[in-house]
Amino acid sequence: MHRRRLVGLVVAVMVALIAGTGLAAAPREGGTLQIAVKSVGTLDPHLSASDFDFAVLSQIFDTLVATGKDSQPIPRLATRWENPDDLTWVFYLREGVYWHDGNAVFPKGQSRQVVADDVKYSLERVLNPETRSPYLGALSNIDRVEVIDDFTVKIVTKSPDPFLLDPIRLAGIAIVPQEAVEQLGSAGFAREAIGSGPFKLVRFVPDDQVVLERNENYWKKPLLDRVVFKVIPDDIVAVMALEAGDVHVSLSVPPNEVDRLRGDKRISLYRSAQGWYRGLGFNVQTPPFDELKVRKALAMSADIDSAVTNVFGENAQRAYGQVGPGLIGYDPSLKELWPYDPQGALALLAEAGFTPGPDGMLQRDGQKLTVEIKTMNEPARIRIVTIIVTQMRELGIDASLAIQEVGTWSADLQNGNTGLFMDFAYSGATGLHAMFHSDNIGASNAHFYGNPKVDELLSQGSVTVDPAAREVIWKEAQRLVMEDVVVIPLYFEFGYTAADARVNDFIPQQWNLNLVSEENNVWLSR
């Protein structure tokens, strides 16, 4: 009797303990997750233009491949893929994935499976100029798409393409059903998006909200009942909405709000895995910036380390090259190229013929050393450039800051109407090629820089599939560009996402926003 009671007690305690720990960690089903986004332009993935569009689209649609926590590709619609040779990619599709039903195209219960033909149709739709997709160029290396069987699709590229998986995993190149696009028309499809993703569209009110509900048939059942994307164009208001409990997640947090939010226990902050490259670029064809000595001297004239620390604190990392941490080609050893040395700068400028004039400003042949730094209107960039300009002026350089509206700024950069400017920020794996290959002069190479050796390396790196070999080439090209002082790298800026502490299993957005993936399934605790 005694023993029985004892055993009973032990069992009861054990059950209670297991149940207790179980309850604390058990994901809860249900609830509506509200996410603040700055804008939602369109629900047609192939015409989407921003990360905010991607955040919404990656719930409604499936891409072949998704991006995992560690920035590596993970399965999504394709469960696996392989490269039988350098030009061929074969994707094996998940079976039993159905298009959303209960809409104008697929009535309730009458949907069909997503098959290889859909993949072929979608990629070809992006590649058709009449679609007007901005991702046309990103896929232009694709030679053809072949359907092997219902669940196997082959992509053949024109040249070896180590970067093919980068565009393939963008929500902008998601898989769409042909009959929906054709029946609804392009404009209709952009409003009534029908995909195969974890959530399906309930309602889209432009500039206001997108309401989604769980796709019961998804291969991994979403824990959330609904997801609502609320359009809040102002960053500060989005943070206020988070604090007021109106939304659970704000996908863009202004840098100066980050430190304040860090102290709030009700809010979790997530830092982006990668930082955006920010740097000053030279137009190397505009005098006097066509002289290496002048460029080098300007790079030495300002204390960029302190400027970055002062403006950003922990929210940015000093950059010494264009390729950011976590990407192939990241090279911290470039630090040695960027000393802060005002006296050395003056000596170099003296060698170039610049001497102090009667007013103390440096001049050559009666002409001042005028440096106007053009930047778009964005507070953090303006602050950092202001610090740099001030330090340059102390040395006698006639430096100033020109704040431009974004359209004017980008037109000036592309037309070469520049000397020194806040550069474009292409940070992906191909950024180096975009910004410094002479093929891209007048488009993404705003430096009007062409160096045959660099061109050769970048072209070679772009077709080198082996990552280790590519890293060597990429680093060499980057070092040459930096030695030519085509840019003055400033910093890698991290993006922040703030979420209510009750949001669990959340992974910050990288390319797409994974709310339900092989790695996670977001849920809300009470």
Binding site: S39, G41, T42, D44, L47, A49, S50, D51, P129, R132, P134, Y135, L136, G137, A138, S140, D166, P167, G172, S186, A187, A190, V205, P206, D207, D208, Q209, K230, V231, I232, P233, D234, I236, V237, M240, A241, E243, A244, D246, V406, G407, T408, S410, A411, D412, F424, A425, Y426, S427, G428, T430, G431, H433, A434, D439, N440, G442, A443, S444, W511
Partner: protein, 318 residues
């Protein structure tokens, strides 16, 4: 009256054409190309020259300016305002979808501002130089000079973040009940209406003062009419023309959309659409919104002119 209205409506056509030409020319003088801006604002792609050229050709942006304008005009007469470069949405749809939000907000702001301004203006005039008048003067000065975004943020801080009485931002919908609509409407409409109320109160006061000094008011008082009757029946009605003019103009501005209010309160109206389009050089959308603004402005002025005749029988058209 019918002929007058018809004449006014016909006169709109050259005006709209002229404005569309000016907008078209101005946007083409501005540096910046919609396709390049769209491509370079997307961090995941690098705009190569070939893609830019292909997309520009698709949008007809590679054609000579006059040809582009002629195409625009031809489509305009078919009721087609073109397609947005950014969203691929027909401009007509984009505007039609946002119009109800803008009208809702503008009407609410108009109601709030007239409800505050006219009584205050009348009281200030009737008791001019009294403490009420001075208080109204100070209030109007604050209302006119206070930036609306500041008032908006202040209201949000107090009523949403601290007191949690009102939703912070966004628009309410009738399918959630009238309460949802009103709760979302209160703060943006008040913010928008406040500045207008200040101006309207000043106009009401000065117009009333002028009328109250006239002979027929003295006559009315001499007849032994009750003071309320004198003020509201005789004076206010005669003072109404300038008030109506200012209200009409202001309502036109409100319909043009208050970009700042719409941004702060995340209101899905037409002002935000227009400004984003200007930033992105989304020509078709800019053209479309400007044309609609112009049309509304002219129509409101026409309505105001017709109302003049209703208020003051001495005013006759034809």
């Amino acid at each position: 009256m019918g002929r007058y209205i018809a004449r006014r409506l016909l006169a709109m056509i050259p005006l709209l054409l002229g404005i569309s030409f000016i907008v078209f020319s101005l946007l083409n003088i501005l540096p910046g190309d919609p396709v390049s801006i769209m491509l370079s604002s997307n961090p995941h792609i690098t705009p190569d020259a070939e893609t830019i050229a292909q997309l520009r050709a698709q949008y007809g942006l590679d054609k000579p300016l006059m040809t582009q304008y002629m195409i625009f005009l031809r489509n305009l007469f078919k009721g087609d305002l073109g397609t947005s470069v950014y969203t691929q949405q027909p401009v007509v749809t984009a505007i039609a979808e946002r119009m109800p939000a803008t009208i809702q907000l503008a009407l609410a702001a108009l109601i709030i501002s007239t409800a505050i301004a006219i009584p205050l203006g009348v009281i200030s005039a009737v008791r001019h130089y009294s403490w009420v008048d001075h208080l109204c003067l100070v209030g109007s000065l604050i209302g006119i000079s206070m930036p609306s975004f500041w008032l908006g943020l202040l209201l949000m801080l107090v009523f949403s973040l601290k007191l949690r009485w009102l939703p912070l931002s966004g628009m309410g919908y009738f399918y959630n009940g009238l309460g949802d609509v009103l709760r979302h409407l209160v703060m943006p409409a008040t913010t928008l209406g406040f500045g207008m109320a200040a101006l309207l109160a000043r106009v009401t006061r000065s117009s009333m003062l002028e009328v109250l000094g006239q002979d027929f008011i003295r006559t009315a008082r001499a007849k032994g009419l009750h003071e309320k009757m004198v003020v509201y029946r005789h004076a206010l009605r005669n003072a109404f023309i300038p008030i109506l003019t200012v209200s009409g103009m202001q309502f036109g501005y409100l319909l043009g959309g208050s970009v700042i209010i719409e941004t702060i309160f995340s209101w899905p109206g037409i002002g935000r659409l227009a400004v984003n389009a200007i930033m992105n050089r989304d020509l078709a959308v800019v053209q479309g919104t400007v044309l609609v603004f112009t049309l509304l402005f002219i129509l409101i002025n026409l309505v105001v002119d017709i109302l003049y005749a209703a208020i003051d029988p001495r005013i006759q058209y034809d």
